[in-house]
């Protein structure tokens, strides 16, 4: 019986010949990511137990992306505690303030995350690493156990295969696919596709996948994660492998990508026609509340933001700059742009794109989560409306409980910021 890519990755990480869904195993991770919202609590717990060391400290990565520039005294205190933990535990891969950037974005760009890797992280958007054909498992606060013991009990998940057919129309992007696919899956067995995606791996396949470059694969991973898929696995194409090889300084032949066997078992086989898709907007309240953009055009927006784990790769910034070149953000709308990495921010400056954003009147922020981190910066007041590429949009996520967060692709958000109201990205030439 063949295995899915996910089963193979987990089996290898456990030193087993094979695993199947439902097995409880203890994988040895290739990497362990903690962001700045988790380190302090992990240190506190292990200190209280007298556990003074971390297993395999060289595999542990500390990133700073949720509260990068400390807007409160508590945040500054937390920063001191994080640096102390990194020093005590001898964490070499420590990306402090202003280093690295978003922990689920820069490791893809630098080639730190490789196809076939098994990765634990505290945060759910470790699923971004599915874009390079790795398996990132969210451990939440249990990542503390991984620090101490080196592993964590893991239930092998089932996989659901989604075949993408056709080609995207102009103005339609990876985030749009993610919103619409998640809407179909959100109802579970009672939903459009009558399939439960909770704790399943959504494995993508099909000829339609070919046009998705690495940045668009990252985009695809975002929204299914929000509806509790445990990973989104995107089998690496030749182009993606070449890109990873170039970024990491390795040869393509040295990479070890993993693919599902022809006779692997999937719990369900679904398909999606890319060519029928309109640009989408997620209505306030849930990222899976996807509607065609035409149903909400005209809604005035006070606040806009391009970035987050779903849309802050270099190419996302290039796309936004194409829209904003020679145009201005509307009066009454404030647009924040958050590059996913310090490296991307530097490229934008070197290539003149930073000026494009600034000429347009956008506000450049430090690399990281930006306003999506939840009440940390770029807040809205009661009654204000936002459109952004954030990962999530629950009530109050970016400020007042009755402010509204719409979600869209970088193109939709950029075009809307220029118009001052939610707009179809195809309404402007770029």
């Amino acid at each position: 019986m063949g295995m899915t890519a996910t089963e193979k990755i987990i089996a290898r990480a456990c030193g087993l010949a094979s695993v199947k869904p439902g097995d409880v195993v203890h994988p040895n991770p290739d990497l362990v990511f903690l962001h700045d919202g988790q380190v302090e609590n992990s240190k506190k717990m292990l200190d209280e137990l007298g556990i003074d060391r971390v297993r395999n400290a060289d595999k542990v990565v500390f990133v700073t992306d949720h509260e990068v520039i400390y807007t409160t005294p508590r945040a500054a205190q937390r920063g001191v505690n994080i640096r102390s933990a990194a020093k005590t535990w001898k964490i070499r891969n420590f990306f402090d303030v202003g280093q690295g950037g978003h922990g689920h974005v820069f490791p893809i760009e630098t080639g730190m995350v490789m196809p076939g890797m098994f990765i634990f992280a505290n945060d759910m958007h470790v699923t971004n690493f599915g874009s390079v054909g790795a398996f990132g498992l969210r451990a939440g606060s249990e990542v503390t156990s991984v620090l101490a013991m080196g592993t964590l009990w893991t239930l092998v998940p089932k996989s659901v295969r989604l075949t993408l057919n056709g080609k995207l129309r102009p103005g339609v992007y990876g985030r749009d696919v993610g919103f619409r696919v998640s809407k179909h899956l959100a109802g579970g067995t009672k939903g459009d596709w009558a399939t439960d995606i909770t704790y399943r791996v959504l494995e993508l396949a099909g000829p339609g996948l070919d046009e998705f470059a690495l940045d668009q694969r990252v985009a695809l991973c975002n929204t299914p994660t929000e509806i509790n898929a445990i990973n989104v696995f995107v089998p690496p194409s030749k182009a993606v492998l070449e890109r990873i090889a170039a970024a990491s300084g390795k040869k393509v032949g040295d990479l070890a990508p993993v693919y599902s066997d022809a006779d692997a078992q999937f719990e369900a086989d679904l398909s999606f026609d890319l060519s029928a898709l309109e640009p989408q907007v997620a209505l306030p309240g849930a990222p899976e509340n996807a509607v065609d953009v035409s149903t909400v055009v005209g809604k005035a927006v006070n606040h806009a933001y391009i970035g987050s784990c779903g849309s802050s790769m270099y190419e996302d910034m290039v796309l936004a700059a194409r829209v904003l070149r020679g145009r201005k953000v509307a009066a009454g709308t404030r647009l924040f742009v958050v590059p996913g990495s310090v490296q991307t921010a530097k490229r934008l400056a070197d290539e003149g794109l930073m000026s494009v954003f600034q000429e347009a009147g956008a506000i450049m922020l430090q690399s990281g989560c930006g306003p999506c981190a939840g009440g940390v910066l770029g807040l809205m007041h009661s009654g204000e409306v936002s459109i952004s590429t954030a990962a999530t949009n629950g009530a109050g996520r970016m400020g007042a409980k009755d402010s509204e967060c719409y979600l869209g692709s970088p193109a939709t958000v950029a075009v809307s910021a220029v118009a001052g109201k939610i707009s179809d990205p195809r309404s402007l030439a770029y």
């Binding site: 409880v24 919202g37 988790q38 302090e40 609590n41 506190k44 717990m45 292990l46 209280e48 137990l49 007298g50 556990i51 060391r53 508590r74 759910m124 969210r138 939440g140 606060s141 249990e142 503390t144 156990s145 101490a148 013991m149 009990w153 239930l155 909770t198 704790y199 929000e226 509790n228 445990i230 849930a286 981190a373 939840g374 009440g375 940390v376 999530t392 629950g394 009530a395 109050g396």
Partner: protein, 183 residues
């Protein structure tokens, strides 16, 4: 904390506090402020448990009480502040269904939880006297004379709950194996 497995009380008897379906954690269960501040201290969290959905909960709830909820409890981000508060208050929980990551998060903070209780919403109303044995799955509504067997806490996870969650598990591991391995 006693390491004697036989001492642990798997049975809770108390009042039912009833909630509906699709209750997300951030907001309805615990005010988002305490979530985004990554608070883990029960003393801070307890006064705010269910504050936005049921402001009287705080004054009504007593140790031994049981929360009974519907489908998809804890949907969305699998944050644990609400479950930390419940566990510290000595309250248990039954729900019809729960996303897996939410479930493991709640177990990891030592909550007495049975999350596959299909139909339990129809078996109790707020204020009923309830008796639940979390190791056998036996549910009794003393007020309405309803008895039912639900899937109990799985055997493989009972040590985790008995020890009070991940922290207790780590403490036990460190004392029995880890400290020696590190030396």
């Amino acid at each position: 904390m006693s390491d004697n497995k036989d001492d642990f009380q798997w049975r809770l008897t108390g009042k039912c506090h009833k909630f509906g379906h699709d209750m997300g954690h951030d907001g309805p269960v615990m005010n988002f402020k305490y979530v985004i501040d990554r608070v883990t201290d029960p003393a801070i969290l307890i006064p705010h448990l269910f504050e936005e959905s049921d402001p009287e909960f705080r004054t009504r709830a007593k140790p031994g009480d049981i929360i009974i909820a519907g489908r998809n409890f804890g949907k969305g981000k699998a944050h644990v502040q609400g479950y930390i508060a419940m566990q510290a208050m000595g309250i248990g929980m039954l729900c019809e269904s729960m996303p897996f990551l939410t479930y493991r998060g709640a177990i990891s903070v030592g909550l007495m939880l049975m999350a596959e209780c299909a139909g339990v919403s129809d078996m109790a109303e707020g204020g009923d006297d309830i008796d639940v044995d979390f190791s056998t799955g036996r549910f009794v509504n003393l007020t309405r004379d309803i008895k039912h067997d639900f899937p109990p806490i799985p055997e493989g996870l009972r040590d985790t709950v008995r020890l009070g969650g991940t922290k207790g598990v780590l403490q036990h591991w460190w004392e029995t194996e880890g400290r020696k391995a590190a030396a």
